[in-house]
């Protein structure tokens, strides 16, 4: 294409749009037909008792590119992970782009390339998509919405409802890297660090864990951080969760960002982290299986499930105190007092 930046013409439904889609997206995603719907078959889906898993997320992030990833990587990983944590094997993704007028086409190309690469390494195909262009000041560079389809094999049934008192609570690595990276990358707080986003696809990790030993539930810790994921799960399962401050894996730089801004790392976003609940007896095998993969290298037990009070998450502090770990209220704001 001769154009270097997106104009409203690229959203008009005509030739300019077609050219943009072909040059930037379909040339990279290589869908099988030009029909505006993918037509798919998978043997796994037709097995008796197999269930289809379906999920969606919109991705909005500033900046669009950051250390460790870009919005495209987030969009693939996030939806793959939402499928994976339910026990589904991710198969197919859709990708819809809302592009702000003026967006650099080279940036879109980089994002599409990241998505294609991440999809390939996660073993999923981007099979259908859409682009829209909005006027300048009515978007933010680009928003990406992915939806995902996976298959839950017969017999696999995990979820919050299965969590039991006594379950071990496991995370797959250091917490808050993504959130801290974005805060720093945004630039307005003038912080600089060497941290990278933890953004990663966790499909293989979940399959490894499922294969290793019985497990009850898993959830990716994204917006709202570990604390919000634990609160959701504790509420849905009607149990209490107690984690141990001393066991929480945290990078010093993430602690640094939190100390400077008065934030709590438990609430920082992650994009390649999950929390997993399994019977205590499963924990060693699951940990071992997780640690055999790069995205599970840092897997550790961080706490356990208690019978009640239902929905309560608490943390044993380093010197034996306990504090409530409530759900994040609104958004975490940097504070000075």
């Amino acid at each position: 294409m001769r154009d270097t930046h997106v104009t409203m013409a690229h959203g008009g439904g005509g030739r300019a749009m077609k050219e943009l889609i072909e040059a930037v997206f379909t040339s990279v995603f290589q869908p099988e037909s030009s029909e505006d719907q993918a037509r798919l078959m998978a043997a796994a889906l037709q097995e008796p008792g197999a269930r289809l898993a379906f999920t969606t997320d919109s991705f909005v992030v500033t900046p669009l590119e950051f250390p460790g990833g870009d919005i495209g990587k987030l969009a693939v990983c996030g939806t793959v992970n939402d499928l994976a944590v339910g026990g589904a094997r991710p198969l197919w993704l859709s990708a819809a782009f809302i592009i702000e007028e003026g967006c650099e086409i080279a940036l879109l190309r980089r994002i599409a390339a990241t998505m294609a690469a991440e999809a390939q390494s996660a073993g999923v195909r981007i099979v259908t998509g859409d682009t829209k262009v909005v006027e300048r000041g009515k978007g933010d560079g680009v928003f990406v919405t992915t939806s995902g389809i996976g298959v839950i094999p017969p017999g696999c049934d995990i979820g919050a409802a299965h969590i039991q008192p006594g379950d071990a609570v496991i995370v797959n690595g250091v917490l808050g890297d993504h959130g801290a990276t974005i805060l720093a990358a945004r630039g307005d707080l003038a912080l600089s660090t060497d941290i990278q986003s933890d953004c990663a696809s966790l499909g293989a990790l979940m399959q490894a864990a499922l294969a290793a030993a019985p497990l009850h539930a898993a959830r990716d810790c994204t917006r709202g951080g570990l604390a919000s994921a634990l609160n959701e799960l504790a509420t849905e399962a009607g149990v209490a969760v107690e984690i141990d401050e001393a066991l929480l894996p945290l990078r010093p730089e993430v602690v640094g960002v939190c100390e400077i801004l008065g934030l709590d790392p438990l609430y920082l976003a992650n994009e390649g982290r999950l929390v997993l609940f399994c019977p205590g007896a499963s924990a060693p095998a699951i940990l071992e299986a997780m640690r055999s993969l790069p995205e599970g290298e840092g897997a550790v037990v961080i706490g356990q499930v208690k019978p009640g009070p239902a929905g309560q998450v608490s943390m044993r502090t380093r010197f034996g105190g306990a504090r409530r770990v409530d759900m994040l209220v609104g958004e975490q704001l940097p504070r000075i007092c």
């Binding site: 912080l191 600089s192 660090t193 010093p252 640094g256 008065g262 000075i336």
Partner: protein, 93 residues
């Protein structure tokens, strides 16, 4: 109130405007060092608040505080051992 955090002043950013780079656990940010510029702050630890180095940290004093706490720890351990012994004695028939 008044979140403050220890950071090391690692280099000048702009000496004229008294801006220097501070580092907290590997995180860097330019801060104003006007309040601690009486002596050369580079290499020193300071208490950072809202982008300003508000005070240099007195390392000796910090060590003394910790020392006192450790002494207390030992003393308290002794006290508790004595108390445990007392209790054991009392519990003895």
């Amino acid at each position: 109130m008044c979140l403050g955090i220890p950071g090391r002043i690692i280099a000048w950013v702009d000496k004229a405007s008294l801006m220097a780079m501070a580092e907290v656990s590997g995180v860097r940010r330019a801060v104003n060092v006007a309040c601690v510029a009486g002596e050369d702050p580079i290499g020193k630890w300071a208490l950072i608040h809202v982008g300003f180095a508000m005070a240099l940290i007195d390392e000796d004093e910090a060590a003394r505080t910790l020392e006192a706490l450790r002494d207390l720890g030992e003393a308290q351990e002794a006290v508790e051992q004595m108390r445990a012994a007392d209790l054991a004695l009392e519990a003895a028939p």
